[in-house]
Symmetry: C2
Subunit: 422 residues, 2 copies
């Protein structure tokens, strides 16, 4: 049975049968998966989706896999949480958090894209997969490939601390240190993928990989009771996520699952690597590459592949982009944890700090229904908090000493006074 999707060039529109290819051979522009909405119409209904699994695979009918594809690992279907306590701190009234800090299986939204990429790696018959990454992407590839019994190679620049990737090596992934920067590593990945039967999720599998991001948009709409928000705030690294959430919303409107609505898209970057937000703010029609210098490593892509498409999506929607300093990132990580009990990585600090600024500057109205996307878990970037908390004196294990200690602390004195003594 013919598949309901194919590859199509984003610029010249040339179409290709499904194959591990990411660049158009006619105009060298990126290829994208085009799903046949009409073919999906019958199986992509609210009712059928509700009967699906508690994972992103409930949306299988609009993902580039065969109808009968059976996923090996649950992924996605993360909580959409009302955030009243954060909202009151930043002047919002109707704020929700899409919490991919707890995305299955490896605690970042990369699990979504990797799930779709590895499904296609199997379809294309690859026995070996890989990527160039040290972070969330490497985690997701190594873990999901292990469960599928695929061999995994992770290529990284040799100047990176090996300690950073213990939690990827544990899955049995083979780490190869390359004597060069990420540009060198990525070029080598392309050559290996070209020559051998290997699938690099973000190189020759990229068009399929990227479709996985649509599930963030599908989930937000379904979890809001099949309606779209007024605003989406989204972190930007390569710039793909924001464009795919927009694509997901368009598909839902076309299929009549949600009412038509102009959602405004807002992009978040770290000032230390802000090529996309700079383009949006200056109105530039191209992306000026930057040399990254920020603690938000998972967003530190100086020359973002989808940057121009992200900037375009933001402008066309009437949204905006902002970037924040490393200091703001750390305090936003703390503020999100203190108010909503969500511990996010540095990228989530970026998104939270940018969200606060968008409200403060009136770019987002207080009453708007806004969803901010948290994309990774704080346990992966605990370095960011080093030195954030001072070590206080030890207290002797006696009630009187404890009370005296509490008394010392003005902020806490009220508690004992307020406490009803039995």
């Amino acid at each position: 049975m013919a598949l309901a999707y194919e590859l199509r060039c984003r610029e010249c529109g040339k179409t290709y049968p499904n194959t591990p290819l990411s660049i158009c051979d006619a105009c060298f522009s990126p290829l994208e998966v085009h799903c046949d909405l009409e073919a999906a119409r019958g199986s992509f209904t609210r009712e059928k989706i509700a009967q699906g699994p508690d994972s992103m695979w409930r949306y299988k009918a609009l993902l580039p896999v065969p109808e009968d594809y059976v996923p090996a690992t649950p992924a996605g279907w993360t909580p959409l949480l009302a955030a009243p306590r954060l909202a009151s701190r930043i002047g919002a009234k109707n704020l929700y958090i899409k919490n991919d800090a707890v995305c299955l299986p490896t605690l970042s939204f990369k699990d979504r894209v990797v799930s779709v990429a590895l499904a296609n790696a199997q379809i294309f018959g690859f026995d070996t997969v890989g990527c160039s990454s040290t972070g969330n992407l490497a985690n997701a590839v190594a873990a999901q490939a292990a469960r599928l019994g695929l061999k995994t190679y992770i290529l990284v620049p040799s100047d990176l601390e090996p300690a950073k990737i213990l939690n990827t090596q544990v899955y049995g992934a083979k780490l190869v240190r390359i004597d060069g920067n990420y540009d060198h590593v990525n070029r080598l990945c392309s050559q290996i993928a070209e020559r051998y039967n290997w699938g690099f999720v973000n190189v020759n599998l990229r068009p399929y990989y990227a479709e996985g991001s649509k599930t963030v948009g599908y989930e937000i709409a379904e979890q809001l009771g099949w309606r779209l928000p007024d605003n989406i705030v989204c972190p930007m690294a390569g710039g793909s996520l924001i464009t795919k959430i927009k694509k997901a919303f368009k598909e839902l409107i076309a299929l009549g699952l949600v009412e038509e609505k102009e959602v405004r898209f807002f992009g978040a970057q770290a000032t230390g690597c802000s090529p996309i937000s700079t383009a949006v703010k200056t109105g530039a029609d191209h992306i000026e590459p930057q040399r990254p210098s920020t603690i938000a490593r998972s967003l530190a892509i100086g020359n973002p592949a989808d940057g121009i498409y992200a900037a375009r999506a933001i402008r066309e929607s009437g949204g905006w982009a902002e970037d924040v300093s490393d200091v703001e990132i750390v305090s936003a990580i703390q503020e999100l944890a203190e108010t909503e009990g969500i511990f996010t990585e540095t990228a989530g600090g970026v998104t939270t700090a940018v969200t606060a600024r968008l409200y403060a500057h009136g770019r987002i109205k207080a009453d708007d229904l806004t969803v901010t996307c948290i994309t990774g878990n704080g346990l992966k970037t605990t370095d960011a908090l080093a030195g954030a908390y001072e070590v206080e004196r030890a207290v002797r294990p006696r009630l009187s000493d404890f009370e005296a200690y509490i008394e010392e602390q003005t902020e806490d004195r009220a508690i004992l006074e307020g406490a009803s003594v039995r």
Copy 2:
């Protein structure tokens, strides 16, 4: 409307109305929550549960909360995964993993018990909560209390590395370093709870707290299609979890949700802290306290409160207990990650290594339907892997150099040879 649960002494059976109390004033034995199964019969049905939320609160009717309780945070409802690749390595044929390494919101099964404890903290009107812990328990209390707007105190022995609790402090929890060991800290917690209107989840809220563990058992049964497994392998720290899973199964049988069946319970400890497994192996009728010395810190309770009940549950079921060395723990962490893509903390290494040994020694038959309980995430104990992977030489970013590097590695040579060169 009267609540369908009360406190009852495990030994003398004396009953108490619901109140923050954990010890019987008549015989000084531990109190336990007793739920009125008859009262729950109408609302605890397969159909009503299936209509409930994708969280442990789908079992609310058998948890100690009012019928109208609305949870603030999704918790539990973790994947039950078939583990074919691990199974084939250890000689199992029908092995499942209950994966609380990805339990919401803080990635350990402690989220389940803390959810129920904090629900009751609110019911009892506590504005301040706490616990004595540096690990999963502190994480869960700090995160969930933050979202509820409760003030949190974490009391810890002063000799602990402050770095270990950054990921708890981030939630705004107040860390108090006590100049003593855990016994001192726990005694102080009891005194504070006694004197002030504070709720310590594992002290004065302990009976309610402990009920949360039942949800592991409910989920396993529902995820198996409303049937019970032949065997459960469960890590043991204080010993409570294994007794509560057994209690959950008994309740499901009594309510007719599953067929009656004798499930065998198997306990897992680290040899460096094995008071319960030692009691089971020696047939002792009491628990001999130990001074813990193991990397499995989350299981390192030398004098387990529920140890004797755990040992009893294991013996009565026809099960067994085992303990494993720190070296076995680390290699089991790697084996679970390499085969199933699950990265667990040291406690999960204990459970996995013990599971393998139980099959090897014939304590568990290959064909049995066995569920092994993974209770926490490996990102919390990455130290355990320090030095596990050697740093190899850097490779120049050229295809020929990469091929030469792969050639060097006998284990990998086959891959290129096998690869279909385009």
